[in-house]
C-alpha cells in the first residue's frame, strides 16, 4: 500500500456518504469506481457500510415498557407547575384557595388516570401552591404551617388507604413521595442557611403542595376501589 493509494482510500472515506447517496458528479463517481476496481480493501468497506446504513435506517421505534407511562402519569399528577396552572385556569386565586381551605373546602380539578395500575378517571383535589416571596415572612410561615398540618392529616388517611392499592401503584406513589421529601429536605436545608431566601421559600411551598396533592391522589384512588374489589397484590 503506497502513500498515494492510502490518500485515495482516505478520500474515498471522506466522500463515501456522497458516493452512496449518489450526490457526486460523473467524474468523481468514475474516480471512486476506478479506485474500487483496484483496491483490495475498499470494496469490502463500501459493501459493509452500505449494509450498515441500510440496516440502521430500517431500525424502527421501540415500545417502552408499560410502567414508563404509569410513572409519567404519576409525575405529571404531582407536578406543581401544572397543578398551579390548572387551578389558575379554573379561577382559583391564592386568596381564594386560602378562604376555601380555611372553610374546610377544597379546590378541584380533573385528573384522568388510566392503565392497569391506575383505575380510570378520578377527581383529585389539591390546594394551590402559594406564591412565596410575594408576601410577608409571616405569610410564608402561615402557608408552611397549613401545608404541614394538611400533610399530617392526609398521611394518616393515606396510611389506611395505601393497602387497598396494588403494589405497582403503591410503589410508584411512594417513589414520588420520596422524591418530594428529598425536595422538601433540600429546601429546608437552604432555608436553614438563608431563612429569608424567597426562592427557597417558594421551592419549599411548592414541594409541600406537591406532597399534599399526591397524598390526596392516594386517598382518592383508594376511595374509588369499592370494598371487596381491592387489587390482590402478589
Amino acid at each position: 500500500m503506497t502513500d498515494d493509494r492510502l490518500l485515495t482510500c482516505e478520500r474515498l472515506v471522506e466522500s463515501l456518504d456522497d458516493y452512496l447517496d449518489e450526490r457526486v458528479d460523473v467524474l468523481a463517481r468514475a474516480a471512486v469506481d476506478a479506485h474500487l476496481a483496484g483496491c483490495p480493501t475498499c470494496p469490502a468497506l463500501v459493501a459493509d457500510v452500505r449494509a450498515i446504513r441500510r440496516a440502521a435506517y430500517a431500525l424502527g421505534p421501540i415500545d417502552p415498557p408499560a410502567h414508563v407511562w404509569t410513572r409519567v402519569q404519576a409525575r405529571v399528577a404531582a407536578d406543581p407547575p401544572v397543578r398551579a396552572s390548572l387551578l389558575d385556569r379554573l379561577g382559583f386565586s391564592v386568596g381564594g384557595w386560602r378562604a376555601l381551605h380555611a372553610a374546610g373546602a377544597v379546590a378541584g380539578f380533573v385528573l384522568v388516570v388510566s392503565s392497569l395500575a391506575w383505575v380510570g378517571t378520578r377527581l383529585a383535589v389539591a390546594p394551590a401552591p402559594v406564591a412565596a416571596g410575594r408576601g410577608a415572612p409571616a405569610e410564608f410561615q402561615l402557608a408552611e404551617a397549613e401545608y404541614t398540618d394538611a400533610i399530617a392529616r392526609l398521611q394518616e388517611a393515606a396510611d389506611v388507604a395505601g393497602p387497598r392499592l396494588d403494589a405497582l401503584t403503591n410503589a410508584t406513589l411512594q417513589s414520588s413521595i420520596d422524591d418530594i421529601d428529598t425536595a422538601i429536605g433540600d429546601a429546608r436545608e437552604a432555608l436553614a442557611r438563608e431563612p429569608g431566601d424567597a426562592l427557597s421559600q417558594e421551592n419549599l411551598l411548592e414541594a409541600l403542595g406537591s406532597k399534599v396533592a399526591l397524598l390526596q391522589d392516594t386517598v382518592s384512588l383508594a376511595g374509588d376501589i369499592a370494598p371487596g374489589t381491592e387489587v390482590q397484590n402478589p
Binding site: L16, L45, I52, L59, V82
Partner: protein
C-alpha cells in the same frame, strides 16, 4: 396534521389526560428508540423518556404549531438526551475519551464482507457497545437520517468531526458485527 396537533396540545393544556395519553402513545415508541440507541441503555432511556414527557406536559403551553408535535417532541428528547450524555461524559470523561480515542478509522483488510441483511437485534446490540461520542453521531446520522451539518449543530461539533465520528462508529460496528457473524457461522 398541524391542526390536529394544535387541538391535541390545546386539550393537554386544559388538563385532558386522555389527550396527553394520545400524545404519549403516538410518539413514545420513536422517542424511546432514539433515547435507547443514543444512550446505549434501555434503563437510562426509560428515565429520560419520563423526563421528556413531563417536560412536554409543562411546556405544551408554549407549543404554537410552528413544527409538528412529533418534531417538537423529538427536539425536546434530543436536547434532553444530549444534556444527559454531556453530564455523564463529564463524570466519566477519562474512560470515554480513551474509548473515543481508539483509532478505528482505517479500513479493515478482512473478508468476507458483512451479510447484506444485518439482523436488527445484532445491530442494536452493537450500537449499544459503541463509545458515547461516535454512537450519538451515528444514531443521529445513520438511524435518524440527519445530515452531517444537522448532526454537527445538535452535538456542537463541526461537520467534519461528525463525518469522522460516524465513520469511526461504522468501523467499530463492522468489527463488532463481523464478530457476531463469525460466531454464528462457527455455531452452525
Amino acid at each position: 396534521m398541524r391542526a390536529d396537533d394544535l387541538e391535541l396540545a390545546r386539550r393537554c393544556r386544559e388538563g385532558d389526560a386522555a389527550a396527553f395519553e394520545t400524545v404519549y402513545r403516538d410518539h413514545a415508541g420513536r422517542l424511546f428508540g432514539l433515547l435507547t440507541r443514543m444512550t446505549g441503555s434501555a434503563h437510562d432511556a426509560e428515565d429520560l423518556l419520563q423526563d421528556v414527557f413531563v417536560q412536554a406536559h409543562r411546556k405544551l403551553a408554549g407549543f404554537r404549531g410552528e413544527s409538528s408535535l412529533g418534531t417538537w417532541l423529538y427536539r425536546l428528547a434530543v436536547n434532553h438526551c444530549l444534556d444527559h450524555l454531556r453530564g455523564k461524559h463529564s463524570r466519566m470523561a477519562r474512560s470515554t475519551d480513551s474509548l473515543d480515542a481508539e483509532d478505528a478509522a482505517e479500513p479493515v483488510a478482512v473478508a468476507p464482507a458483512l451479510p447484506e441483511a444485518i439482523a436488527r437485534i445484532d445491530l442494536e446490540r452493537a450500537i449499544a457497545q459503541l463509545p458515547a461520542g461516535c454512537r450519538a453521531a451515528f444514531v443521529l446520522h445513520d438511524v435518524e437520517g440527519l445530515d452531517h451539518r444537522e448532526v454537527g449543530e445538535a452535538l456542537g461539533i463541526s461537520e467534519g468531526t461528525s463525518k469522522s465520528q460516524v465513520h469511526k462508529a461504522r468501523m467499530k460496528l463492522r468489527v463488532l458485527l463481523r464478530g457476531v457473524t463469525r460466531g454464528a457461522l462457527e455455531a452452525v
